[in-house]
Protein backbone atom coordinates (compact mmCIF):
# COMPACT_ATOMS: atom_id res chain seq x y z
CA UNK A 1 0.00 0.00 0.00
CA UNK A 2 1.56 3.28 -1.16
CA UNK A 3 1.06 6.15 1.29
CA UNK A 4 2.42 9.68 1.59
CA UNK A 5 3.75 10.77 4.98
CA UNK A 6 3.81 14.50 5.62
CA UNK A 7 5.83 14.93 8.79
CA UNK A 8 6.39 18.03 10.92
CA UNK A 9 10.07 19.00 11.13
CA UNK A 10 11.46 21.33 13.74
CA UNK A 11 14.83 21.69 15.41
CA UNK A 12 14.63 24.53 17.95
CA UNK A 13 18.16 23.85 19.27
CA UNK A 14 19.65 24.63 15.87
CA UNK A 15 17.13 27.34 14.96
CA UNK A 16 15.15 27.64 11.80
CA UNK A 17 11.45 27.61 11.00
CA UNK A 18 9.28 24.54 11.37
CA UNK A 19 8.27 22.82 8.14
CA UNK A 20 6.90 19.56 6.75
CA UNK A 21 8.88 16.81 4.96
CA UNK A 22 7.11 14.51 2.54
CA UNK A 23 7.97 10.81 2.11
CA UNK A 24 6.48 8.10 -0.15
CA UNK A 25 6.33 4.80 1.69
CA UNK A 26 5.18 1.35 0.62
CA UNK A 27 3.66 -0.54 3.56
CA UNK A 28 1.59 -3.67 4.16
CA UNK A 29 -2.18 -3.11 4.54
CA UNK A 30 -2.08 -3.85 8.28
CA UNK A 31 0.90 -1.58 9.06
CA UNK A 32 0.71 1.02 11.83
CA UNK A 33 1.63 4.68 11.52
CA UNK A 34 4.69 3.88 13.64
CA UNK A 35 5.77 1.16 11.16
CA UNK A 36 5.82 3.83 8.48
CA UNK A 37 7.82 6.30 10.58
CA UNK A 38 10.37 3.60 11.36
CA UNK A 39 10.64 2.65 7.70
CA UNK A 40 11.26 6.29 6.77
CA UNK A 41 13.99 6.56 9.37
CA UNK A 42 15.58 3.24 8.34
CA UNK A 43 15.48 3.76 4.60
CA UNK A 44 15.03 7.43 3.72
CA UNK A 45 15.91 9.92 6.47
CA UNK A 46 17.83 9.02 9.60
CA UNK A 47 17.50 12.58 10.95
CA UNK A 48 13.78 12.16 11.62
CA UNK A 49 13.05 12.22 15.37
CA UNK A 50 10.08 10.52 16.98
CA UNK A 51 9.49 8.58 20.16
CA UNK A 52 8.21 5.03 20.72
CA UNK A 53 8.76 2.33 23.28
CA UNK A 54 6.35 -0.54 23.99
CA UNK A 55 4.88 -0.65 20.47
CA UNK A 56 1.65 -2.13 21.85
CA UNK A 57 -0.30 0.86 23.15
CA UNK A 58 0.54 0.55 26.81
CA UNK A 59 3.29 3.09 27.48
CA UNK A 60 1.98 6.29 25.88
CA UNK A 61 5.41 7.28 24.52
CA UNK A 62 4.39 7.71 20.90
CA UNK A 63 1.57 10.29 21.13
CA UNK A 64 1.44 12.30 17.88
CA UNK A 65 -1.25 14.24 16.04
CA UNK A 66 -2.16 12.02 13.10
CA UNK A 67 -4.22 13.98 10.58
CA UNK A 68 -4.58 16.59 13.38
CA UNK A 69 -6.06 14.12 15.87
CA UNK A 70 -3.79 13.10 18.75
CA UNK A 71 -3.29 9.35 18.89
CA UNK A 72 -0.63 6.72 19.54
CA UNK A 73 1.32 5.88 16.37
CA UNK A 74 1.88 2.29 17.49
CA UNK A 75 -1.79 1.33 17.63
CA UNK A 76 -3.12 3.46 14.77
CA UNK A 77 -3.43 1.49 11.54
CA UNK A 78 -2.56 3.30 8.32
CA UNK A 79 -5.69 1.81 6.71
CA UNK A 80 -7.84 3.66 9.28
CA UNK A 81 -6.28 7.08 8.66
CA UNK A 82 -6.11 6.91 4.86
CA UNK A 83 -9.82 6.37 4.18
CA UNK A 84 -10.17 9.91 2.82
CA UNK A 85 -6.89 9.87 0.88
CA UNK A 86 -3.37 8.36 0.87
CA UNK A 87 -1.78 11.19 2.89
CA UNK A 88 -0.84 10.75 6.56
CA UNK A 89 0.01 13.96 8.36
CA UNK A 90 2.08 13.65 11.53
CA UNK A 91 2.53 16.65 13.83
CA UNK A 92 3.64 16.95 17.46
CA UNK A 93 0.93 17.19 20.12
CA UNK A 94 -0.16 20.71 21.00
CA UNK A 95 0.57 22.69 24.15
CA UNK A 96 3.95 21.09 24.88
CA UNK A 97 7.31 22.49 23.64
CA UNK A 98 8.96 20.48 20.86
CA UNK A 99 12.53 19.24 21.26
CA UNK A 100 12.81 17.96 17.70
CA UNK A 101 10.29 16.99 14.99
CA UNK A 102 7.67 14.83 16.78
CA UNK A 103 9.49 14.62 20.10
CA UNK A 104 8.11 16.87 22.81
CA UNK A 105 9.62 17.93 26.09
CA UNK A 106 8.46 15.47 28.73
CA UNK A 107 10.27 17.40 31.48
CA UNK A 108 8.23 20.53 30.89
CA UNK A 109 4.98 18.68 30.38
CA UNK A 110 5.02 15.75 32.71
CA UNK A 111 7.85 15.49 35.12
CA UNK A 112 8.04 19.07 36.43
CA UNK A 113 4.26 19.29 36.84
CA UNK A 114 3.89 15.78 38.25
CA UNK A 115 6.67 16.59 40.74
CA UNK A 116 4.69 19.66 41.82
CA UNK A 117 1.95 17.24 42.92
CA UNK A 118 4.37 15.66 45.47
CA UNK A 119 3.57 12.21 44.12
CA UNK A 120 4.44 10.19 47.16
CA UNK A 121 2.37 8.94 50.06
CA UNK A 122 2.58 10.66 53.42
CA UNK A 123 0.30 8.80 55.80
CA UNK A 124 -0.39 10.32 59.23
CA UNK A 125 1.07 7.31 61.01
CA UNK A 126 4.03 6.16 58.95
CA UNK A 127 4.97 3.33 61.27
CA UNK A 128 1.63 1.73 62.03
CA UNK A 129 2.17 -1.49 63.98
CA UNK A 130 -0.32 -3.44 61.90
CA UNK A 131 -1.39 -3.77 58.30
CA UNK A 132 -3.37 -0.81 56.99
CA UNK A 133 -6.41 -2.52 55.49
CA UNK A 134 -8.53 -0.44 53.11
CA UNK A 135 -11.93 -1.42 51.72
CA UNK A 136 -11.86 -2.09 47.98
CA UNK A 137 -14.65 0.46 47.47
CA UNK A 138 -12.40 3.27 48.72
CA UNK A 139 -9.49 2.36 46.46
CA UNK A 140 -11.19 1.41 43.17
CA UNK A 141 -11.15 4.92 41.66
CA UNK A 142 -7.72 5.70 43.07
CA UNK A 143 -6.23 2.55 41.61
CA UNK A 144 -7.76 3.27 38.23
CA UNK A 145 -5.96 6.63 38.05
CA UNK A 146 -2.68 4.82 38.78
CA UNK A 147 -2.97 3.35 35.29
CA UNK A 148 -2.38 6.82 33.74
CA UNK A 149 0.15 6.48 30.88
CA UNK A 150 1.41 10.04 31.46
CA UNK A 151 1.30 10.31 27.68
CA UNK A 152 0.22 13.95 27.37
CA UNK A 153 -2.99 13.45 25.39
CA UNK A 154 -5.14 15.14 28.07
CA UNK A 155 -2.91 18.22 28.16
CA UNK A 156 -2.94 18.22 24.37
CA UNK A 157 -6.62 19.17 24.40
CA UNK A 158 -6.44 21.64 27.31
CA UNK A 159 -8.01 25.07 26.76
CA UNK A 160 -5.88 26.81 29.41
CA UNK A 161 -2.36 25.70 28.42
CA UNK A 162 -2.29 27.65 25.13
CA UNK A 163 -2.77 30.89 27.09
CA UNK A 164 -0.95 29.87 30.28
CA UNK A 165 1.68 27.15 29.97
CA UNK A 166 2.35 27.30 33.72
CA UNK A 167 -1.09 25.80 34.40
CA UNK A 168 -0.39 22.39 35.90
CA UNK A 169 -2.84 20.78 33.48
CA UNK A 170 -5.18 17.80 33.62
CA UNK A 171 -2.35 15.23 33.57
CA UNK A 172 -0.85 16.52 36.82
CA UNK A 173 -4.32 16.97 38.28
CA UNK A 174 -5.05 13.25 37.74
CA UNK A 175 -1.86 12.52 39.65
CA UNK A 176 -3.11 14.89 42.39
CA UNK A 177 -6.44 13.05 42.47
CA UNK A 178 -4.66 9.77 43.06
CA UNK A 179 -3.41 11.18 46.39
CA UNK A 180 -6.34 13.44 47.36
CA UNK A 181 -8.68 10.47 47.21
CA UNK A 182 -6.33 8.00 48.89
CA UNK A 183 -7.90 7.12 52.27
CA UNK A 184 -4.51 6.49 53.84
CA UNK A 185 -3.71 10.19 54.04
CA UNK A 186 -5.93 11.68 56.73
CA UNK A 187 -6.28 14.70 59.04
CA UNK A 188 -3.63 17.38 58.66
CA UNK A 189 -1.98 15.38 55.87
CA UNK A 190 -5.17 15.51 53.82
CA UNK A 191 -5.30 19.28 54.26
CA UNK A 192 -1.67 19.55 53.11
CA UNK A 193 -2.52 17.38 50.12
CA UNK A 194 -5.43 19.63 49.18
CA UNK A 195 -3.15 22.66 49.49
CA UNK A 196 -0.83 20.97 46.97
CA UNK A 197 -3.54 20.54 44.32
CA UNK A 198 -5.01 23.97 45.12
CA UNK A 199 -1.67 25.76 44.60
CA UNK A 200 -1.71 28.69 42.15
CA UNK A 201 -2.01 27.39 38.56
CA UNK A 202 -3.61 24.25 39.94
CA UNK A 203 -7.14 23.06 40.68
CA UNK A 204 -8.88 26.43 40.39
CA UNK A 205 -7.23 27.44 37.12
CA UNK A 206 -9.08 24.69 35.25
CA UNK A 207 -12.02 25.94 33.18
CA UNK A 208 -13.87 22.58 33.45
CA UNK A 209 -14.44 22.44 29.69
CA UNK A 210 -14.37 18.60 29.76
CA UNK A 211 -12.06 18.48 26.74
CA UNK A 212 -9.61 16.22 28.59
CA UNK A 213 -12.29 13.58 29.22
CA UNK A 214 -12.50 12.84 25.53
CA UNK A 215 -8.73 12.78 25.05
CA UNK A 216 -7.57 10.31 27.71
CA UNK A 217 -6.39 7.03 26.20
CA UNK A 218 -7.14 5.22 29.46
CA UNK A 219 -10.65 6.63 29.90
CA UNK A 220 -9.69 8.22 33.21
CA UNK A 221 -11.91 11.29 32.66
CA UNK A 222 -9.40 13.88 33.94
CA UNK A 223 -11.95 16.74 33.81
CA UNK A 224 -14.42 14.82 35.96
CA UNK A 225 -11.63 14.03 38.41
CA UNK A 226 -10.86 17.73 38.70
CA UNK A 227 -14.52 18.48 39.47
CA UNK A 228 -14.61 15.70 42.08
CA UNK A 229 -11.55 17.22 43.75
CA UNK A 230 -13.26 20.61 43.78
CA UNK A 231 -16.17 19.07 45.64
CA UNK A 232 -13.71 17.60 48.17
CA UNK A 233 -11.95 20.93 48.49
CA UNK A 234 -15.28 22.66 49.09
CA UNK A 235 -16.14 20.24 51.89
CA UNK A 236 -12.75 20.80 53.55
CA UNK A 237 -12.85 24.57 53.00
CA UNK A 238 -11.45 26.09 49.80
CA UNK A 239 -7.90 27.30 50.42
CA UNK A 240 -7.70 29.91 47.65
CA UNK A 241 -9.22 32.94 49.41
CA UNK A 242 -10.64 34.68 46.35
CA UNK A 243 -12.16 31.48 45.00
CA UNK A 244 -13.59 30.76 48.46
CA UNK A 245 -15.21 34.22 48.59
CA UNK A 246 -16.65 33.61 45.12
CA UNK A 247 -18.17 30.25 46.07
CA UNK A 248 -19.54 31.51 49.37
CA UNK A 249 -21.12 34.56 47.78
CA UNK A 250 -22.63 32.42 45.01
CA UNK A 251 -24.17 29.92 47.41
CA UNK A 252 -25.40 32.57 49.84
CA UNK A 253 -27.07 34.42 46.99
CA UNK A 254 -28.93 31.29 45.84
CA UNK A 255 -29.82 30.47 49.44
CA UNK A 256 -31.21 33.92 50.17
CA UNK A 257 -33.07 34.63 46.93
CA UNK A 258 -33.17 31.41 44.90
CA UNK A 259 -30.95 32.80 42.18
CA UNK A 260 -27.66 34.53 41.51
CA UNK A 261 -27.10 38.18 42.42
CA UNK A 262 -24.37 38.96 39.89
CA UNK A 263 -23.61 42.45 41.19
CA UNK A 264 -23.10 41.24 44.72
CA UNK A 265 -21.09 38.22 43.50
CA UNK A 266 -18.61 40.38 41.64
CA UNK A 267 -18.06 42.71 44.60
CA UNK A 268 -17.93 40.01 47.28
CA UNK A 269 -15.48 37.98 45.18
CA UNK A 270 -13.08 40.92 45.16
CA UNK A 271 -13.69 41.42 48.89
CA UNK A 272 -15.74 44.30 50.26
CA UNK A 273 -12.69 45.79 52.01
CA UNK A 274 -10.42 45.35 49.01
CA UNK A 275 -10.61 48.90 47.69
CA UNK A 276 -8.03 48.30 44.92
CA UNK A 277 -9.90 45.26 43.67
CA UNK A 278 -13.24 47.03 43.77
CA UNK A 279 -11.83 50.03 41.90
CA UNK A 280 -10.73 47.71 39.11
CA UNK A 281 -14.37 46.83 38.56
CA UNK A 282 -15.41 50.42 37.94
CA UNK A 283 -14.66 50.69 34.17
CA UNK A 284 -16.61 47.48 33.45
CA UNK A 285 -19.49 48.66 35.65
CA UNK A 286 -19.59 52.04 33.89
CA UNK A 287 -19.64 50.36 30.48
CA UNK A 288 -22.46 48.06 31.62
CA UNK A 289 -24.46 50.98 32.99
CA UNK A 290 -24.15 53.06 29.86
CA UNK A 291 -25.41 50.12 27.80
CA UNK A 292 -28.34 49.39 30.14
CA UNK A 293 -26.82 46.05 31.08
CA UNK A 294 -26.45 46.60 34.80
CA UNK A 295 -28.72 44.11 36.59
CA UNK A 296 -31.63 45.77 38.36
CA UNK A 297 -32.85 45.25 41.91
CA UNK A 298 -32.31 41.64 42.90
CA UNK A 299 -35.68 40.29 44.06
CA UNK A 300 -36.27 37.17 46.10
CA UNK A 301 -37.94 34.48 43.96
CA UNK A 302 -41.07 32.56 44.82
CA UNK A 303 -39.85 29.22 46.11
CA UNK A 304 -36.70 30.77 47.60
CA UNK A 305 -37.54 29.52 51.10
CA UNK A 306 -37.76 25.94 49.86
CA UNK A 307 -34.50 26.36 47.94
CA UNK A 308 -32.83 27.68 51.10
CA UNK A 309 -34.18 24.75 53.15
CA UNK A 310 -32.81 22.25 50.63
CA UNK A 311 -29.34 23.82 50.39
CA UNK A 312 -29.01 24.12 54.18
CA UNK A 313 -29.99 20.48 54.64
CA UNK A 314 -27.52 19.44 51.92
CA UNK A 315 -24.79 21.49 53.64
CA UNK A 316 -25.40 19.55 56.85
CA UNK A 317 -24.93 16.28 54.97
CA UNK A 318 -21.25 16.94 54.22
Amino acid sequence: MEVTYKVHREDPENGGESSFSTYQVDLPEDATVLDGLQKIRDEQDDTLAFRASCCQGTCGECAVRINWRAQFTCTTKIADVTKKGPEILCAPVRNIPVIKDLVFDMDKFTWDKMAAMKPWMEPEDEFAPTENLIPESEMADVRKTMSCYQCGLCDEGCAVLPVDFDFLGPGAMVKGYRFVMDPRETGARKEERLAVVEQPKGLWDCVHCYEANGKCARGLEPSSKIMEMRDVSFKHGIKNEKVARHHNSFINSVKQTGWLDERKLVMETEGLTNIGGLMKLVPTAVRAMTRGKMPGRHEKRPGADQIKRIIEKAEESK
Partner: protein, 292 residues
Protein backbone atom coordinates in the same frame (compact mmCIF):
# COMPACT_ATOMS: atom_id res chain seq x y z
CA UNK B 1 -44.92 22.98 20.98
CA UNK B 2 -44.74 24.05 24.57
CA UNK B 3 -41.84 24.18 27.04
CA UNK B 4 -41.18 24.97 30.66
CA UNK B 5 -38.90 27.94 30.03
CA UNK B 6 -35.78 28.19 32.17
CA UNK B 7 -34.02 31.44 31.19
CA UNK B 8 -31.22 31.19 33.79
CA UNK B 9 -29.80 33.92 36.01
CA UNK B 10 -27.68 35.78 33.45
CA UNK B 11 -30.54 36.31 30.97
CA UNK B 12 -32.44 37.89 33.88
CA UNK B 13 -29.36 39.80 35.06
CA UNK B 14 -26.26 40.79 33.11
CA UNK B 15 -27.61 39.88 29.65
CA UNK B 16 -31.24 41.09 29.66
CA UNK B 17 -31.13 41.39 25.87
CA UNK B 18 -30.88 37.60 25.61
CA UNK B 19 -34.14 37.14 27.50
CA UNK B 20 -35.97 39.69 25.37
CA UNK B 21 -34.67 38.23 22.11
CA UNK B 22 -35.42 34.62 23.10
CA UNK B 23 -39.02 35.38 24.11
CA UNK B 24 -39.72 37.37 20.92
CA UNK B 25 -38.14 34.74 18.68
CA UNK B 26 -39.97 31.86 20.39
CA UNK B 27 -43.29 33.61 19.82
CA UNK B 28 -42.51 34.10 16.15
CA UNK B 29 -41.60 30.41 15.85
CA UNK B 30 -44.84 29.30 17.57
CA UNK B 31 -42.87 27.92 20.49
CA UNK B 32 -45.06 28.41 23.57
CA UNK B 33 -43.10 29.16 26.75
CA UNK B 34 -44.29 28.86 30.33
CA UNK B 35 -41.58 30.45 32.44
CA UNK B 36 -40.38 28.65 35.56
CA UNK B 37 -40.21 31.49 38.05
CA UNK B 38 -40.07 29.59 41.37
CA UNK B 39 -37.01 27.42 40.76
CA UNK B 40 -33.34 27.80 41.67
CA UNK B 41 -30.17 28.71 39.83
CA UNK B 42 -28.52 25.52 38.49
CA UNK B 43 -25.34 26.15 40.46
CA UNK B 44 -23.50 26.89 37.20
CA UNK B 45 -20.72 24.41 37.97
CA UNK B 46 -19.74 26.68 40.86
CA UNK B 47 -21.87 25.00 43.52
CA UNK B 48 -20.63 21.54 44.48
CA UNK B 49 -22.83 18.72 43.24
CA UNK B 50 -24.05 17.69 46.71
CA UNK B 51 -25.72 21.13 46.92
CA UNK B 52 -26.78 21.59 43.30
CA UNK B 53 -28.18 18.13 42.53
CA UNK B 54 -31.04 18.46 45.07
CA UNK B 55 -32.10 21.93 43.84
CA UNK B 56 -31.89 20.79 40.21
CA UNK B 57 -33.93 17.69 41.04
CA UNK B 58 -36.54 20.11 42.43
CA UNK B 59 -36.57 22.02 39.12
CA UNK B 60 -36.96 18.79 37.14
CA UNK B 61 -39.78 17.64 39.45
CA UNK B 62 -41.60 20.96 38.89
CA UNK B 63 -41.34 20.54 35.11
CA UNK B 64 -42.55 16.98 35.46
CA UNK B 65 -45.61 18.32 37.31
CA UNK B 66 -46.18 20.79 34.47
CA UNK B 67 -45.95 17.88 32.02
CA UNK B 68 -43.45 19.83 29.91
CA UNK B 69 -39.85 19.49 28.74
CA UNK B 70 -37.52 22.29 29.85
CA UNK B 71 -36.03 24.72 27.33
CA UNK B 72 -32.85 26.58 28.30
CA UNK B 73 -31.13 29.48 26.54
CA UNK B 74 -27.80 29.11 28.32
CA UNK B 75 -25.18 26.45 27.57
CA UNK B 76 -23.96 26.52 31.15
CA UNK B 77 -27.46 25.93 32.55
CA UNK B 78 -27.91 23.20 29.93
CA UNK B 79 -24.60 21.53 30.75
CA UNK B 80 -25.19 21.53 34.50
CA UNK B 81 -28.80 20.33 34.05
CA UNK B 82 -27.78 17.56 31.63
CA UNK B 83 -25.08 16.29 33.98
CA UNK B 84 -27.39 16.44 37.02
CA UNK B 85 -30.21 14.73 35.11
CA UNK B 86 -27.75 12.04 34.04
CA UNK B 87 -26.83 11.33 37.68
CA UNK B 88 -30.52 11.39 38.65
CA UNK B 89 -31.27 8.54 36.25
CA UNK B 90 -29.78 6.34 38.96
CA UNK B 91 -33.01 5.30 40.75
CA UNK B 92 -31.36 4.80 44.13
CA UNK B 93 -29.72 8.24 44.10
CA UNK B 94 -32.92 9.87 42.85
CA UNK B 95 -34.99 8.28 45.60
CA UNK B 96 -32.52 9.45 48.20
CA UNK B 97 -32.85 13.02 46.95
CA UNK B 98 -36.63 12.73 46.80
CA UNK B 99 -36.78 11.40 50.34
CA UNK B 100 -34.23 13.77 51.88
CA UNK B 101 -35.03 17.01 50.10
CA UNK B 102 -38.16 17.05 47.96
CA UNK B 103 -40.72 15.07 49.98
CA UNK B 104 -41.19 17.86 52.52
CA UNK B 105 -42.55 20.08 49.74
CA UNK B 106 -44.71 17.26 48.38
CA UNK B 107 -42.46 16.85 45.31
CA UNK B 108 -40.94 13.73 43.85
CA UNK B 109 -38.80 13.49 40.69
CA UNK B 110 -39.44 10.41 38.57
CA UNK B 111 -36.52 10.99 36.18
CA UNK B 112 -38.58 11.78 33.08
CA UNK B 113 -37.91 15.47 32.45
CA UNK B 114 -36.16 16.26 29.17
CA UNK B 115 -33.97 19.36 29.12
CA UNK B 116 -33.09 20.99 25.81
CA UNK B 117 -31.19 24.09 24.80
CA UNK B 118 -33.01 26.32 22.34
CA UNK B 119 -30.44 25.41 19.66
CA UNK B 120 -31.41 21.75 19.99
CA UNK B 121 -35.13 22.59 20.04
CA UNK B 122 -34.77 24.35 16.67
CA UNK B 123 -33.34 21.28 14.93
CA UNK B 124 -34.82 18.39 16.88
CA UNK B 125 -38.35 19.63 17.65
CA UNK B 126 -39.21 22.58 15.41
CA UNK B 127 -37.45 21.24 12.34
CA UNK B 128 -35.42 22.78 9.55
CA UNK B 129 -38.37 23.06 7.13
CA UNK B 130 -40.52 25.09 9.53
CA UNK B 131 -37.56 27.29 10.39
CA UNK B 132 -36.75 27.90 6.74
CA UNK B 133 -40.36 28.83 6.02
CA UNK B 134 -40.25 31.60 8.65
CA UNK B 135 -37.07 33.33 7.46
CA UNK B 136 -37.99 36.77 6.18
CA UNK B 137 -34.56 38.29 5.81
CA UNK B 138 -31.77 35.88 4.79
CA UNK B 139 -28.56 37.27 6.28
CA UNK B 140 -26.71 37.28 2.97
CA UNK B 141 -23.21 38.67 3.17
CA UNK B 142 -23.02 38.55 6.96
CA UNK B 143 -19.89 36.68 8.07
CA UNK B 144 -20.45 34.87 11.33
CA UNK B 145 -18.09 32.83 13.53
CA UNK B 146 -19.98 30.15 15.44
CA UNK B 147 -18.69 29.79 19.00
CA UNK B 148 -20.07 26.85 21.00
CA UNK B 149 -17.96 27.14 24.13
CA UNK B 150 -17.72 24.06 26.32
CA UNK B 151 -20.99 22.98 27.77
CA UNK B 152 -23.18 22.24 24.75
CA UNK B 153 -20.67 19.74 23.41
CA UNK B 154 -19.02 18.10 26.38
CA UNK B 155 -18.90 15.71 28.14
CA UNK B 156 -19.72 13.97 24.84
CA UNK B 157 -21.48 10.90 26.24
CA UNK B 158 -23.92 13.17 28.13
CA UNK B 159 -24.39 16.12 25.77
CA UNK B 160 -24.40 14.12 22.53
CA UNK B 161 -25.56 10.74 23.86
CA UNK B 162 -26.84 9.04 20.69
CA UNK B 163 -26.21 9.01 16.94
CA UNK B 164 -29.69 10.46 16.42
CA UNK B 165 -28.56 13.72 17.99
CA UNK B 166 -25.06 13.60 16.52
CA UNK B 167 -25.99 16.74 14.58
CA UNK B 168 -25.53 18.70 17.82
CA UNK B 169 -21.86 18.88 16.93
CA UNK B 170 -22.73 21.12 14.00
CA UNK B 171 -26.07 22.81 14.68
CA UNK B 172 -24.53 26.25 15.09
CA UNK B 173 -22.82 26.12 11.70
CA UNK B 174 -25.97 24.60 10.18
CA UNK B 175 -28.12 27.38 11.61
CA UNK B 176 -25.79 30.15 10.48
CA UNK B 177 -25.90 28.80 6.94
CA UNK B 178 -29.62 28.17 7.07
CA UNK B 179 -30.16 31.82 8.00
CA UNK B 180 -28.23 32.80 4.88
CA UNK B 181 -25.06 33.96 6.62
CA UNK B 182 -21.53 32.83 5.87
CA UNK B 183 -19.63 30.66 8.39
CA UNK B 184 -16.21 31.88 9.43
CA UNK B 185 -14.42 29.04 11.15
CA UNK B 186 -12.02 29.48 14.07
CA UNK B 187 -9.83 26.82 15.69
CA UNK B 188 -11.21 27.42 19.18
CA UNK B 189 -14.93 27.35 18.44
CA UNK B 190 -15.54 24.48 20.86
CA UNK B 191 -13.00 25.67 23.41
CA UNK B 192 -13.63 27.57 26.62
CA UNK B 193 -14.33 31.32 26.48
CA UNK B 194 -12.37 31.80 29.70
CA UNK B 195 -15.28 32.85 31.91
CA UNK B 196 -14.95 30.03 34.47
CA UNK B 197 -11.40 31.04 35.36
CA UNK B 198 -12.05 34.77 35.62
CA UNK B 199 -11.84 34.58 39.40
CA UNK B 200 -8.77 32.37 39.77
CA UNK B 201 -6.70 33.62 36.84
CA UNK B 202 -7.93 36.78 35.15
CA UNK B 203 -5.01 36.97 32.74
CA UNK B 204 -5.63 33.45 31.47
CA UNK B 205 -9.33 34.22 31.08
CA UNK B 206 -8.75 37.45 29.13
CA UNK B 207 -6.11 35.64 27.07
CA UNK B 208 -8.80 33.28 25.85
CA UNK B 209 -11.08 36.19 24.94
CA UNK B 210 -8.30 37.79 22.90
CA UNK B 211 -7.41 34.46 21.26
CA UNK B 212 -10.92 33.56 20.09
CA UNK B 213 -12.22 37.03 19.22
CA UNK B 214 -8.89 37.97 17.62
CA UNK B 215 -8.80 34.87 15.42
CA UNK B 216 -12.38 35.41 14.38
CA UNK B 217 -11.67 39.01 13.42
CA UNK B 218 -8.51 38.01 11.59
CA UNK B 219 -10.46 35.41 9.61
CA UNK B 220 -12.79 38.13 8.39
CA UNK B 221 -15.86 37.68 10.59
CA UNK B 222 -18.34 40.51 11.12
CA UNK B 223 -19.44 38.97 14.40
CA UNK B 224 -19.43 35.86 16.53
CA UNK B 225 -22.57 34.00 17.59
CA UNK B 226 -22.83 32.10 20.85
CA UNK B 227 -25.54 30.01 22.54
CA UNK B 228 -24.12 30.82 26.00
CA UNK B 229 -24.60 34.10 27.90
CA UNK B 230 -21.54 33.40 30.08
CA UNK B 231 -19.43 33.21 26.91
CA UNK B 232 -21.12 36.46 25.95
CA UNK B 233 -20.30 38.13 29.27
CA UNK B 234 -16.62 37.33 28.77
CA UNK B 235 -16.23 37.69 24.99
CA UNK B 236 -18.30 40.87 24.80
CA UNK B 237 -18.18 42.37 28.30
CA UNK B 238 -14.48 41.76 28.85
CA UNK B 239 -13.30 42.31 25.28
CA UNK B 240 -12.13 45.88 26.09
CA UNK B 241 -10.03 44.50 28.98
CA UNK B 242 -8.63 41.73 26.74
CA UNK B 243 -7.71 44.41 24.20
CA UNK B 244 -5.86 46.40 26.88
CA UNK B 245 -4.04 43.28 28.06
CA UNK B 246 -2.87 42.39 24.56
CA UNK B 247 -2.41 45.96 23.39
CA UNK B 248 -4.44 45.40 20.26
CA UNK B 249 -7.87 46.44 19.06
CA UNK B 250 -10.27 43.60 18.26
CA UNK B 251 -13.71 45.22 18.16
CA UNK B 252 -15.68 42.09 17.29
CA UNK B 253 -19.44 42.14 18.03
CA UNK B 254 -20.67 39.06 19.90
CA UNK B 255 -24.28 38.09 19.13
CA UNK B 256 -26.55 35.84 21.18
CA UNK B 257 -28.05 32.91 19.25
CA UNK B 258 -31.68 34.18 19.47
CA UNK B 259 -30.57 37.63 18.30
CA UNK B 260 -29.03 36.25 15.10
CA UNK B 261 -32.13 34.17 14.54
CA UNK B 262 -34.34 37.16 15.25
CA UNK B 263 -32.58 39.31 12.64
CA UNK B 264 -33.30 36.64 10.01
CA UNK B 265 -36.90 36.36 11.19
CA UNK B 266 -37.37 40.04 10.41
CA UNK B 267 -36.81 41.75 13.77
CA UNK B 268 -34.67 44.86 13.71
CA UNK B 269 -31.57 45.54 15.79
CA UNK B 270 -33.51 47.55 18.39
CA UNK B 271 -36.05 44.81 18.88
CA UNK B 272 -33.19 42.34 19.44
CA UNK B 273 -31.60 44.91 21.80
CA UNK B 274 -28.21 44.84 20.08
CA UNK B 275 -27.60 48.27 21.60
CA UNK B 276 -27.13 46.65 25.00
CA UNK B 277 -23.83 45.07 24.02
CA UNK B 278 -20.49 46.39 25.24
CA UNK B 279 -18.78 45.98 21.86
CA UNK B 280 -20.70 48.04 19.32
CA UNK B 281 -22.69 45.94 16.87
CA UNK B 282 -22.75 48.74 14.29
CA UNK B 283 -20.94 46.63 11.67
CA UNK B 284 -23.67 44.00 11.97
CA UNK B 285 -26.52 46.54 12.08
CA UNK B 286 -25.24 48.24 8.93
CA UNK B 287 -25.02 44.99 6.98
CA UNK B 288 -28.46 43.88 8.12
CA UNK B 289 -29.95 47.31 7.32
CA UNK B 290 -28.72 46.95 3.76
CA UNK B 291 -30.70 43.73 3.43
CA UNK B 292 -34.05 45.34 4.22
Amino acid sequence: MKYAFYPGCVAKGGCPELYTAAVKVAEKLDIELEEMSDVACTGAGCMPTHLSDPINARTFAKAEQMGLPIMTICSTCQGVFSQANHRLQDAEYREEINREYLAEEGLSYQGTTEVKHMLWVLFEDLGVDKLKSLIQRPLEGLKVSPFYGCFLRRPGPIMVPTKEVGGRRGYLEDLTQLLGAENVDISGKTKCCGFPVLTANEESSLGMVAKHAGESKQNGADCMVTPCPLCHLNLDGNQPRAESLKGEKINLPIIHLPQLLGLALGFDADEMQLGKHIVSTKAVNDKVDMLT
